[in-house]
């Protein structure tokens, strides 16, 4: 598949939130304001790409040669947790402005299924390193898009009169359902 196709596929057709149902907690939890959504989304892109790179190498050079494939889950989550911690410390020290905008989201990403999910999917599909990184970036971009769209909808929703029982999470979930329905229209593009 060409790079363009990978992007279209990961952002629109197989959007990680709306069609694969991963990363729901931040999708419902962090989509109240657009600023927060953009911060969270960018941090996810950044960490997903980094995590994919490191876990890919760990799988290829550590787990496979020693036949430790069954430890994949354990190894990956530890790599992701350590990586997130390290990136946070590095950004704080080296690039303070970036830390100011992304920093608060970093600790929350360790348990984001989006990151872990991408690293596992890359292994399942046996992609090469470059393909994996492109795929990880495109998936992160899809997450960002879904988050921004949802934040936009929810900002409008604040001023609407929603039935009492539907307020808050129920209406957000139904909105997400309608959005997923729209994204289904992209099926067949790739």
């Amino acid at each position: 598949m060409s790079v363009f196709e990978v992007f279209v596929s990961a952002i629109f057709v197989n959007n990680i939130v709306l069609s694969q149902n991963l990363g729901q907690c931040p999708y419902v939890g962090c989509s109240k304001e657009k600023g927060v959504a953009i911060g969270m989304g960018s941090a996810v892109i950044f960490v997903t790409v980094m995590a994919t790179m490191f876990t890919w190498m760990a799988q290829k050079y550590l787990l496979d040669p020693f036949e430790l494939g069954y430890l994949q889950t354990l190894a990956f989550i530890l790599i992701i947790a350590a990586l997130v911690q390290f990136v946070e410390m590095f950004l704080k020290k080296a690039i303070p402005p970036l830390y100011a905008s992304l920093g608060i989201f970093l600790p929350l990403i360790t348990t984001n299924c989006c990151v872990m999910g991408v690293t596992l999917m890359v292994q399942r599909d046996e992609l090469g390193l470059m393909d994996s990184l492109i795929y990880a970036f495109a998936t992160g971009a899809g997450f960002l898009l879904a988050l921004i769209l949802m934040a936009g909808v929810r900002e409008r929703l604040e001023t609407c009169r929603v039935p009492k029982a539907m307020q808050g999470t129920p209406i957000a979930l139904i909105m997400a359902g309608i959005m997923a329905l729209t994204f289904m229209a992209f099926k067949g593009m790739v």
Partner: protein, 232 residues
Amino acid sequence: MQRFIQELTKGLWREIPPFRVMLGLCPVLAVTKNASNGLGMGIAVLFVLVLSNAIISSVRNFIPKKVRIACFITISATLVVAVELLMQAYVYPLYLQLGIFVPLIVVNCIILGRAEAFASKNPVHLAIADGIGMGLGFTMSLTFLGAIRELLGAGTLFGKFIMWEGFEPFTIMVEAPGAFICLGLILALMNFMTHWQIKRRNESTPFVLLHASQMPSCGGACPGCSSGQNKG
């Protein structure tokens, strides 16, 4: 003993995840395409939750506060590896069906959420009771949601066709949008029932209301999203 039963039963209705406490949404939405997948996922989570609660609670006094999250993740990841191996050995078709959602139990908010909110503060027997209760509640919810989606989306229940002749299935219910809409409607229905009960009895609320805007979407206990640690 009374406390034990109280902790055991609170997960079954009063704080049933994921309806009352929004924990671990990803598997809830993704694997409930049919009732048997939901049941399998629920049992896997139940297994991990009970054991991780028990272990974390028994070592809670040795873990330094600063690295507790990393310790919790390591413990639950080890248990998830065990579940993966067990599933590969005994229920391989189900393991293939659930796919990457089995390893993703590690990052399920419900495990870390209960570890942080309950197991790290309470003695072992209460933590086990909490794990069993919450796990059973989660299994019930997943099976329930899976059954509704399977019934409407394919006309079957646990793989057996039970709708009337000529029933046209709503294929949308077994796709991703159906999950969101179904869960949203169930939550709304539960809120509605709670409001109605309060109005009828005219007494103070026995439940946590989900619609309250200050209620974080995932109980606030999980370190995986902003509502837990900062208000965004």
